[in-house]
């Protein structure tokens, strides 16, 4: 999952730096992730993992770092298992 997120981030994130230089906990907004690019990234993630981000997870915190994105997706997949 980490790899897929990194690939999509490189493709859609529009970051001025290489994704390889960003730590899992690194702040993506400080690295230059714009609000437009973050939405493109969300769309890419929805397609790649066949999920939909519910509105309550559409906030800055959920997409603030690669680790946060991983946790966000994980929680959606967990909820699906329960349901």
């Amino acid at each position: 999952m980490n790899e897929t997120i990194r690939t999509l981030l490189a493709k859609l994130g529009g970051l001025p730096v290489s994704v390889d230089t960003i730590a899992n906990e690194g702040d993506l907004y400080a690295a230059g992730l714009s609000s437009f690019a973050s939405v493109q990234l969300m769309l890419g993630l929805e397609e790649a993992f066949d999920i939909e981000f519910p509105d309550h997870l559409l906030n800055r915190k959920s997409f603030a770092s690669i680790a946060a994105i991983e946790a966000t997706i994980q929680s959606i997949l967990e909820d699906r298992k329960v349901a």
Binding site: G32, S34, F36, L43, L58, R60
Partner: protein, 393 residues
């Protein structure tokens, strides 16, 4: 000392009305000369409105955004430029209250704002960023505990007349353009070299000239949170809500003038329906929509303040954008209709029914943060955010 809530509210209204009375007396001169409304701002300071949002333990009154919004509406009915300066000041205070309460320097500064009634200015726009204040070109430099900043600020509203400026920049010289901080500079810590003059259609008293800003201050004056968080959690929402409140004030005053016009005609010929009466009913309905939209936005903001995740959520951002779009677009036809009712007496300056200033001031609403930009921003979010389908949420 009266400690019950209601008298304080009335007390706040009576202070706002005192300011509005002074603002109204000078509104036409301020507009004509394009000058700073110093009489109204001095009255704001005299009745101690500058620090009302600051918590009481720091010398303020801890009032809510809704209470500040009411003041904006009252002053907006008298002089939109004065109300806009008041609103912009309070938007800066809201950033300090929300994001500066843990930093000792900023707590002390809030105390000063309340006791000395300081007027805060804002410098978020810059030449070359294409109007997107979430990007900066200039960067703040920190060396040996001091910070240095130079910014080509295309607009600093009432820059010459404010007592301190809150200014955005990149957080360091290698930072991405969106990696911003906001810093407080006191009047004796910066120089302003005027580059552009504010000679505009409306809102002429805000004196929003352009300047080269050069400042030097202790580095502790940089707000600790990233500007991205300040913008999302306090600045954009309070700007949209307070601006909308004063725009509503412009429209309400236009309505009142048209209503006075129709009533005067009705009194002259009782028994017949005066022209413009039906249009007045239509305007009343439109005004109610504008008002309900703002009040709903204020309630959403007060509710979200308790929840950081909600404040930085897409749903909240969309809601605040929608408040701004609707109020800025709806006031124009209302004021226009008022002018049609008042006819030539509305078109002429210097009559009790004059509406030229109202109409010109109101035209700024769609442009300050361009509605096209806001709609583009909302439309991007709608690719993932889903529309609320319930009535009560």
């Amino acid at each position: 000392m009266d400690l019950s809530a209601k008298p304080q509210e009335t007390h706040l209204k009576s202070r706002a009305i005192r300011v509005a009375t002074v603002a109204a007396a000078y509104a036409d001169d301020v507009d004509k000369a394009g000058r700073f409304p110093r009489e109204a701002i001095e009255e704001m300071k005299a009745v101690k409105l500058m620090g009302i949002m600051i918590p009481s333990e720091l010398g303020g009154e801890g009032l809510s955004t809704s209470e500040i919004a009411e003041v904006c509406t009252i002053i907006g009915q008298a002089c939109a430029s004065s109300a806009m300066i008041f609103a912009m000041h309070q938007i800066k205070v809201s950033s300090l209250v929300s994001h500066g309460h843990e930093a000792e320097w900023h707590r002390e500064f809030m105390r000063r704002v309340a006791t000395e009634q300081l007027l805060l200015g804002s410098a978020t726009t810059e030449a070359g960023i294409g109007g997107n204040m979430r990007n900066s070109i200039c960067a703040i430099e920190v060396k040996d505990g001091r910070c240095y900043l130079e910014k080509d600020a295309t607009v600093i509203s009432y820059g010459i007349d404010c007592d301190a400026i809150l200014i955005t920049s990149r957080s360091h010289k290698d930072a991405a353009s969106s990696d911003q901080v906001m810093t407080v500079f006191l009047k004796d810590q910066y120089t302003l070299e005027r580059t552009q003059t504010w000679d505009t259609l409306g809102m002429r008293g805000t004196c929003s000239d352009g300047f080269i800003f050069k400042g030097e201050a202790p580095a502790e004056q940089i707000l600790p949170q990233p500007f991205a968080e300040i913008a999302a959690q306090s600045m954009l929402a309070s700007a949209h809500l307070l601006w909308s409140s004063l725009w509503y004030g412009i429209a309400v005053d236009a309505f009142a003038r048209a209503q006075n016009f129709v009533r005067a005609a009705a009194r002259k010929s009782p028994g017949t329906q005066p022209p413009g009466l039906v249009q007045l009913a239509e305007m009343s309905s439109q005004l109610q929509v504008v008002r309900a939209n703002i009040v709903n936005g204020l309630q959403a903001f007060e509710a979200a303040r308790k929840d950081q995740d909600r404040l930085s959520s897409m749903g909240f951002a969309v809601a605040m954008n929608n408040v701004k779009i609707a109020s800025s677009e709806m006031i124009l036809p209302i004021i226009n209709q008022a002018m049609r009712i008042c006819g030539i007496l509305g078109y002429k300056n210097g009559t009790p029914y004059s509406l030229g200033r109202h109409l010109r001031d109101a035209h700024s609403a769609e442009l300050m943060i361009s509605n096209d930009r806001i709609l583009a921003n909302t439309s991007t979010m709608l690719l993932v955010h889903k529309q609320e389908t319930g009535l009560l949420g």
